[in-house]
Each structure stands twice: as structure tokens, then as C-alpha cells.
Amino acid sequence: VISSDTWKGLALPVALIVIGEIAGRMANLTDIDSLAPPSAIIAAFVEAVADGSILKTTRDTLVTAFTGLAVGGSIGLLIGIVLGVLPTADRLMEVTIESIRPIPSIAILPIALIALGFGYRLEIAIISFACMWPLLILTRAAVRGVEPRLMEVSRALRLTPGARVTKIVIPAALPRIFVAFRLAAGIALIVSVTVEIAINPLGLGHAIMTAQQALRPDLMLAYLVWLGIVGWALNAALLFAQQRLFGRAAVVEETR
């Protein structure tokens, strides 16, 4: 049974699609190269699925996004744990970190371009830079927020610093680290598409750009809608995983 709220939520998109279709049929859109009626968008989508191009571009975007997330995320996680466990190091590194962090990730693009050239590595490098920060900052905060009594217990048990991190700190901070990971995954997708649109000839971003340059608004909008679905599905899957893995813990931590 579908609740009335679901129907209300569907009303707006359905209305937009119907209006778009009617308006598209009434106005002759063939000589306008910026819009297409929903039926043409669906046809273009089916075409892109059939010739495999949507599968390939989606794979390229997601593989670079996740590789960058893994690389940058692990670096951020590592530095975040070190700075969280050692307040001295944190205070000493403050100026250095705070002067690199405000650099917008897209500004790294030209540097990475002359160092790495076009391709996967360029994109992965920029995504890594972008994903490092949320994990660094939120992991540091999560580690610092570990219940002090747990740390007392670890001292009483005479755990080595390594054991303290793996047995006490990481498990206790894990729900908040996962939230950071989920946020960084969203950033990874945004940055990969942005780099593809700006310069890098691969993935969904480049596909949207090429469709626009080929004056194929139907294909451009088909890719755009598909990208919306991919972004939504990624976000929904990570939220679901977060709820399954950590239940209320992560949700509460996030709103704090």
C-alpha cells in the first residue's frame, strides 16, 4: 500500500513530465537545441543503454570516484586518527593544515593536468584531494570525542598505543567515521563529474558535455536524469548501509 505522502511526492515530478511533454509537442522543439520533450529523452536513454555507452561512462565515473575516495579517504583517515590521538601533533600541524584546506579542489586541476595529463589518474588525484578533508576533519573530531572512560580503561589494561587505536579508538569512532565516509562519497561523485565536465574526456560528465556539443538535447538530458538517479541511488545505498551497520548511533552522531 502506497501512503498518501508518496502520492503527493510523486505529483510534482509527474506533473512536470506531463507539462514538458505537452509543451514539447505544442512548440516545435526541433529547431531549439537546448530542450527536448520527455518522450525523446526516454528514447535517447534507451538508445544509450542499447549501445552500451551509458554503462561504460557510468563505470568510468564511478570507478574514478571510488578509487579517489579510497585513496584520499584512507590518507584523511590516517592523518585524522594520528591528530586525534596526539593533541600535540594536532596543534603543531594546525597552521599547515588550515592553509592547505581552503584551496578549492578544482584549483588543483591545472596542476594535476600538467603533472599527470588527461585520464583516470588526473581525476583520481583531484578526487583524493577533495575526499581527504572531510575524513581528516571528522575522524579527528570522532577520535577526540571517544568516551574518556574508554581511554582510561585502555590505560588500565596497559594496551600499547597501536592496540589502543585498533581496539578502542577506531571501534568507538566508527559510526562517525562512516558518516564522514558517506559525505565524502557524495563529494567524490560531484568532483568526478565536475572534472569531467571541465576538462577530462571520460565518464558521465564528459558524455553530457559531448551530447550538448553535438546538439543532442535529448541525449544530454537523458544523461543528466541518469546522473541524478545514480547520485540518488548512491546516497540511498550508503544511508541504508549506515542504518544497517550502526542503527541509531550514526544518526544521532550526525545531528550532534
Binding site: L12, T96, A107, I114, Q212, G231
Partner: protein, 260 residues
């Protein structure tokens, strides 16, 4: 006494932290001097600094900074007005909300930069394209934050408003906006960053006057010192703008902290 000691030690920590940063710059200089990394990719801090000073005094770096700040400011200001107004309309009406919020939530994870090709199809590679993209992208966090802020207003306040027969406008200005202001300001902080990133992307794509265009041209000509000067300036802009918004946020929310 104790406060003086801790203030003194805070200064010491700060000095030590600056010393570490200076050490990092020194290591960078040594790497560049030893040519461990090709100077084509990595200029030393000395060359980057010279390029920065030369660009600011003789070159057109000032004009590029102004260009980027203009793109950011126009986009961000229009986004703030539209985002908060739309958000207030949607958020203050429990009748409209269930119709609109699912669509907003669906669109939330969509990378805004993906709309650049659509904007190019409409406006060409122009200033109008850049402003529409920056405005729309920066509006998004603000719209969502405002809707959230309005939806989270204590329901009893709305009941009070009903019993006082307040008009819709009065409800928005006297109850909604003050209660939602922390959310709105947090959204504004987020959208400043979005505006900066989108400004750079649009300048790179459309060749508009600004730092994005500057760093791309420097990279194409392999002038790495100029490139680093541009990146440093973008970092400074990112730092200063978020500092200003964070300061405004603290000032504007003082009344909440003081418990009124």
C-alpha cells in the same frame, strides 16, 4: 593568572605551529632546489612568490581576483535571496511541503556542475551562463537548509501564531526566519564554497575573466609559477570568504547563545 598562563601557552603553540608551516615551505624549497620534481610541475616557493608579486603589481592578477569575486558575489547574493525566499515559502506551509520535499531530496545529490552543459545550451559560453550556474548551485544548499529550518520550528510556535491571527508574512518574518536562522546561515556558509568552486569551473570552461581562466592558461603555457600563484590566491579567497561568513554567523546568532 591561570588564564594568562593558558593564553601565553596558546600563543606559544601558535608560534610553534607557524614554525612547522615555515618548515614545510622550506622543505618545498629544498625539493624544488634539488630538482627532485621537475620545475615544470613544481616551482619553488620563491618563484611562486615572485610570480604572485609580479602578477599583482604589473600583471592583471588583480583584475582576475576581482573577476572571480564578482562571479562569486553576484551568484551567491542572488542565490541567497531566491533560496531563502523559496525555502521560506515551501518550509512554512505544511500543505506544500509533502509535494515538494521528495523532489528536492531526490535532486540533492545531483552534482550541480552537471547543469553546466544545460546552461551552455541555453546561454552559450557567456557571463549569463556562469551566473545562472553559480546562482543555481549556490541556491541549492540554502534552499534545503531554509526548508529544513522552517520545518523544524517548534510546532507550538505556529499554533501561537494561528491563535494570534498572524498573517503568512508575519509568521515567516516573526517566527520562521528567526527560528530557522542557524540553518539558513549554515546553508550560506556551505554555498559560499559552492559559489567559489563553480566560479572557477565556469571560468575554466567559458574563458571568463577570473582566476580559473588564469590558472588554466598558466598550465597550458607550462608557467607553473604563475599557476601556483593563482592557486594560492584561490586558497586565500576560500579562506577569507569562509572566515567572513563564519564571523557573520557568530555575530548574527549571538542572541541565541545569550539565551533569549
Amino acid at each position: 593568572m591561570n588564564a594568562a598562563v593558558s593564553a601565553g601557552s596558546a600563543v606559544l603553540w601558535r608560534v610553534a605551529s607557524f614554525a612547522i608551516a615555515a618548515g614545510v615551505v622550506a622543505v618545498w624549497q629544498m625539493i624544488a632546489n634539488a630538482r627532485l620534481v621537475s620545475p615544470v610541475f613544481l616551482p619553488g616557493p620563491d618563484r611562486a612568490w615572485t610570480a604572485l608579486v609580479r602578477g599583482l603589481t604589473e600583471g592583471d592578477l588583480v583584475a582576475k581576483i576581482v573577476g572571480t569575486l564578482e562571479h562569486m558575489a553576484f551568484g551567491w547574493l542572488s542565490a541567497s535571496i531566491v533560496g531563502v525566499a523559496l525555502g521560506a515559502l515551501i518550509g512554512s506551509s505544511p500543505r506544500i511541503r509533502p509535494y515538494v520535499t521528495p523532489t528536492l531530496e531526490f535532486l540533492r545529490p545531483l552534482p550541480v556542475s552537471a547543469l553546466i552543459p544545460v546552461a551552455i545550451a541555453f546561454f552559450g559560453l557567456s557571463q549569463a551562463m556562469a551566473l545562472s550556474v553559480i546562482g543555481f548551485g549556490a541556491m541549492w544548499p540554502m534552499l534545503l537548509a531554509t526548508v529544513h529550518g522552517f520545518a523544524a520550528v517548534e510546532p507550538r510556535l505556529y499554533e501561537v501564531a494561528r491563535s494570534l491571527h498572524l498573517s503568512r508574512a508575519e509568521v515567516i518574518f516573526k517566527i520562521g526566519l528567526p527560528s530557522a536562522s542557524p540553518d539558513i546561515l549554515a546553508g550560506m556558509r556551505l554555498s559560499v564554497t559552492v559559489a567559489l568552486i563553480l566560479s572557477v569551473v565556469c571560468e575554466i570552461l567559458a574563458g571568463l575573466d577570473g582566476l580559473g581562466h588564469w590558472i588554466l592558461l598558466s598550465a597550458r603555457a607550462f608557467r607553473s609559477a604563475d599557476l601556483f600563484a593563482g592557486v594560492i590566491l584561490l586558497g586565500v579567497i576560500g579562506y577569507l570568504t569562509s572566515l567572513v561568513v563564519a564571523y557573520a554567523e557568530r555575530r548574527l546568532l549571538v542572541w541565541r547563545a545569550s539565551g533569549h
